[in-house]
């Protein structure tokens, strides 16, 4: 398999990393092209075993809550109104076309004809309406989907195939929001069964159907033989080649990798960088590198309180920290340094390496200027008896070991400038607890959303105000009216060029204020046994899809 072997042999050197991402992308695209040779003929049947290192979802319905593990699974059996292609263009899926009013407040979606949910319910405008209402109902306990559709006032059923979205204010991110698995369309009859049943086995229109969920072990997915609604960028029509998918939960990375090597599983996610590097050049395995969209992985600096309320201290920190060597060593060339607030898969990402050059001398003079002139016995700077301590809560559920090691390196390099970084490894609940209590100076939190609108969620001052549950997304507590204005305007601007300009201005301002230290794209990759052909990651939130996949002998 040429594409696969190119992919797997081309990483390992830092200089080649960028190329790798491109090649991988091309390789995926290449799967669509008809290929020659008998062995490239898709084979029907077989069960693919997928081993997930992500947490086991507590509910398979991605409307409930809405996190990445749910998206991973939901991509196999649920479908959205629209999708996105490699270049970031929105393409049809369950909706074959759409139009927006000039004021951007009314969107009409025309649904694909003849699509039927796997419980026999037909896909119609009423179903879309029910789904949006389900997402907006507090009882559903939706978080991600609820936020994504925040500007949708209601859905009107125009006719059977015409659904009209009426917005409260213009939303340039609506299509991107609707492309996400968290807003996927489910059978109204399935939703009507109630939360407990719907969590066990949501009903969608996808190529596979949830057959069984053995908690703590696996989810069994079987082929939907009546499948008829592949997205516009799919490689074939009709039902999937695979007969079934066994979706297993294998939390331990070493076990997961050993299972792939031993042939017990065909695909694993979240592979350790060192194991990815170890199979380099090995034709037996294929690596799919599919960084998540939305925000890049970054360290946020809490500008809401001392010492980072002083821009000089923020800049000093960013100048003091050295992460390039660490990223190279820890990720074995599988991740490349980011200089942007947005993921490299976002077409509107603005990158500025100049702002992140390490310069210890500059850091020291900045700190001196900011009044942090004295040092104690440890070498930590002092100001008025106050130590320059940075609390850094790290969620063990959200960060992989390599990332924690990188944070330790951040800790070590920042020490040279006189920062005392205190890393606190916490479980998810305690981690949120530390954030709510504002007991942090630096933090790293992932956020996945399709499109640049993620900037509004992360850096608009509205996001500093916590929800009743205490949640707030603007962890750098960036409070800049100019940024607010730029992001609000961009969200309401449908003109592509104007929108791009607005987002670039916003990003420049955000990076210029030294509110964050970008590290690398949100790591999201898959190792496959090379017998698995035709698998790819959906370009929406980079979840894998096995609709086109088949198992070679």
């Amino acid at each position: 398999m040429p594409a696969a072997s190119v992919t797997s042999s081309s990483f390992g050197r830092r200089s080649l990393v960028l190329a790798v991402a491109l090649v991988a992308t091309l390789a995926l695209a290449g799967c669509q092209a008809p290929e020659s040779g008998a062995s490239d003929e898709p084979v029907q049947g077989g069960t693919l075993v997928y081993a997930s290192g992500d947490a086991e979802p507590v509910c398979l319905d991605p409307h409930v809550g809405g996190n990445y593990p749910q998206a991973l699974l939901a991509s196999q059996f649920l479908e959205s109104l629209v999708s996105r292609d490699e270049s970031g263009e929105i393409i049809p899926w369950l909706a074959e076309s759409w139009t927006a009013s000039d004021d951007g407040l009314v969107w009409d979606f025309t649904l694909r004809e003849g699509v039927v949910f796997t419980d026999g319910t037909p896909l119609d405008a009423e179903a879309v309406k029910v789904n949006v209402e389900h997402l907006q109902d507090p009882a559903t306990q939706s978080s991600t989907g609820y936020l994504a559709l925040g500007k949708v006032a209601e859905v009107e059923v125009v006719d059977e195939r015409q659904a009209r979205f009426v917005l409260s204010s213009p939303d340039s991110a609506l299509l991107e929001s609707l492309s996400q698995p968290w807003t996927a369309i489910q059978s109204p009859a399935g939703i009507a069964r109630g939360m407990e049943a719907n969590c066990e086995a949501p009903v969608g229109t996808g190529p596979f159907v949830v057959e069984d969920w053995v908690k703590q072990d696996h989810v069994s997915l079987v082929r939907n033989d009546d499948y008829s609604s592949p997205p516009a960028d799919a490689a074939h029509d009709g039902p999937a080649y695979l007969e079934a998918i066994e979706w297993r939960f294998v939390p331990d990375a070493a076990s997961r990798h050993a299972a792939l090597q031993g042939g017990q599983v065909d695909v694993i996610d979240n592979p350790q960088p060192d194991t990815v590097a170890a199979v380099e050049g090995d034709d037996a395995f294929t690596w799919i590198n599919a960084p998540r969209p939305g925000a890049a992985n970054r360290i946020e600096l809490n500008s809401g309180q001392a010492p980072f309320d002083d821009v000089r201290v923020r800049e000093a920190f960013i100048r003091a920290v050295e992460v390039d060597e660490g990223i190279e060593a820890l990720y074995f060339g599988t991740a490349s340094r980011s200089y942007s607030a947005l993921s490299s898969v976002e077409p509107l990402a603005y990158s500025d390496p100049s702002r992140f050059e390490t310069d210890l001398e500059a850091a020291n003079s900045l700190l001196d200027a900011a009044g942090w002139t004295e040092r104690d016995a440890d070498g930590t700077r002092l100001k008025g008896g106050q130590r320059l301590t940075l609390r850094f809560p790290v969620s063990t559920n959200q960060s992989i070991p390599a990332e924690q090691s990188l944070f330790e390196q951040v800790q070590a390099t920042a020490k040279a400038a006189g920062f005392d970084v205190v890393i606190e490894l916490l479980d998810l609940s305690s981690w949120y607890g530390a954030l709510f209590a504002n007991e942090y100076e630096i933090v790293s939190a992932p956020y996945t959303k399709v499109g640049p609108d993620v900037l509004r969620i992360l850096y608009h001052s509205d996001s500093i105000t916590p929800a009743p549950s205490g949640y707030f997304a603007n962890l750098s507590q960036l409070d800049d009216p100019e940024v607010d204005a730029l992001l609000t305007e961009a969200a309401a601007t449908s003109d592509a060029t104007a929108r791009a300009e607005l987002y670039e201005a916003a990003q420049q301002r955000i990076l210029g204020g030294f509110y964050l230290l970008p590290l690398y794209d949100q790591q999201n990759s898959f190792l496959l046994d090379s017998a698995v052909k035709g698998a790819r990651a959906l370009p929406t939130v980079s979840t894998p899809t096995f609709y086109d996949a088949w198992l070679a002998d």
């Binding site: 609820y146 936020l147 939390p251 998810l428 949640y471």
Partner: protein, 311 residues
């Protein structure tokens, strides 16, 4: 006999009640709002209305003592409540997880027993060399952390030799490594006890009597000393099972097996209180049951214990 049975049952009931009470009140000390945990954890952006609704629904707005009594009442009917996170009855969830864990633990117990018996029989009453080797093996085995041993076993037998699957596959082969991981450290402990009691038994006069009858060394081991060596190990089995359940938390995670340990770990991370309470109660029940069982087994194996009761 009846008095004994009554004492056993009432003792078991007391332990379960105390465990339930302790867990109930300990969990009230957890910082954070249970209603929030129900609504998908602290990361969710739950609205005030949603929080209020959940509090009413789960009775979290009632006084603590009312909640406590309500829980006891439910427990009496075997109702363990609903999982906050998984939205399913805890009893259903646990009953589906118990089997796997118990199978794992019991198999590990059996394997540990066999390993310990083999090692102690091999190393006892032979040369000083054998005894030192045996001692070393026992000490090392008992000091092995589960997760490290598991890693080494996977590296050798899965990644290296490719003999056994590194994750549970539901097949007997998939069970081998988890069972061995759990069994080896336990075998280290058991072998220490067995060897000492074996040594002790071998110095007893009845061994002299048996030899004076013309019994061979093997005969003495099989007919006499092995039973004496087994006695303390039997009485240890209740503790051993608890120890194995602790180990199961780690082993189930590493080998990706469904079970109580993993359920507990997940529930702890998600602050899923009903599930935590349920697992704790279930484990306590298993412990109580094992205690009665080992007590019974010891009495069957050692008539002296029955004798004590009658004197």
């Amino acid at each position: 006999m009846l008095r004994r049975a009554v004492a056993l049952v009432s003792g078991a009931a007391f332990v379960l009640w105390a465990v339930a009470t302790l867990t109930f009140f300990a969990i009230r000390l957890i910082p954070g709002d249970p209603a929030q945990a129900i609504l998908g954890g602290p990361g969710s952006q739950a609205s005030q209305e949603a929080l209020d609704q959940v509090r009413r629904e789960y009775g979290l707005d009632r006084p603590l003592i009312v909640q406590y009594l309500a829980m006891l009442g439910r427990l009496l009917t075997g109702d363990l409540g609903h999982s906050y996170a998984l939205k399913v009855p805890v009893a259903d969830l646990l009953s589906s997880q118990l089997g796997g864990t118990m199978l794992l633990a019991v198999m590990a117990l059996v394997v540990a027993w066999m390993l310990a018996l083999g090692l102690s029989l091999w190393s006892t009453g032979r040369s000083r060399f054998a005894s030192i080797i045996g001692d070393g093996i026992e000490l090392t085995a008992a000091a092995l952390p589960h997760f490290w041993l598991a890693g080494v076993l996977i590296a050798v037998f899965s990644s290296g030799l490719d003999w056994l699957p590194p994750v549970s596959t539901g097949t007997p082969a998939g069970f081998v490594l988890p069972v061995v991981t759990l069994a080896v450290p336990l075998a280290g402990f058991l072998a220490q006890v067995m060897r000492e009691s074996l040594l002790d038994a071998m110095q007893q006069p009845f061994v002299l009597s048996a030899r004076a009858r013309g019994e061979s060394t093997t005969g003495i081991r099989l007919r006499h000393t092995i039973r004496h060596a087994a006695l303390p190990a039997i009485s240890l089995s209740g503790w051993a099972l608890g120890w194995l359940l602790s180990g199961a938390v780690v082993v189930e995670t590493i080998f990706a097996m469904p079970g109580l340990g993993r359920t507990l770990l997940q529930a702890v991370t998600l602050r899923d209180i009903p599930v935590v309470t349920g697992v704790v109660l279930l484990v306590a029940l298993v412990y109580v049951f094992m205690t009665v069982l080992t007590d019974l087994a010891s009495r069957i194996a050692d008539p002296r214990l029955r004798q004590e009761g009658a004197r």
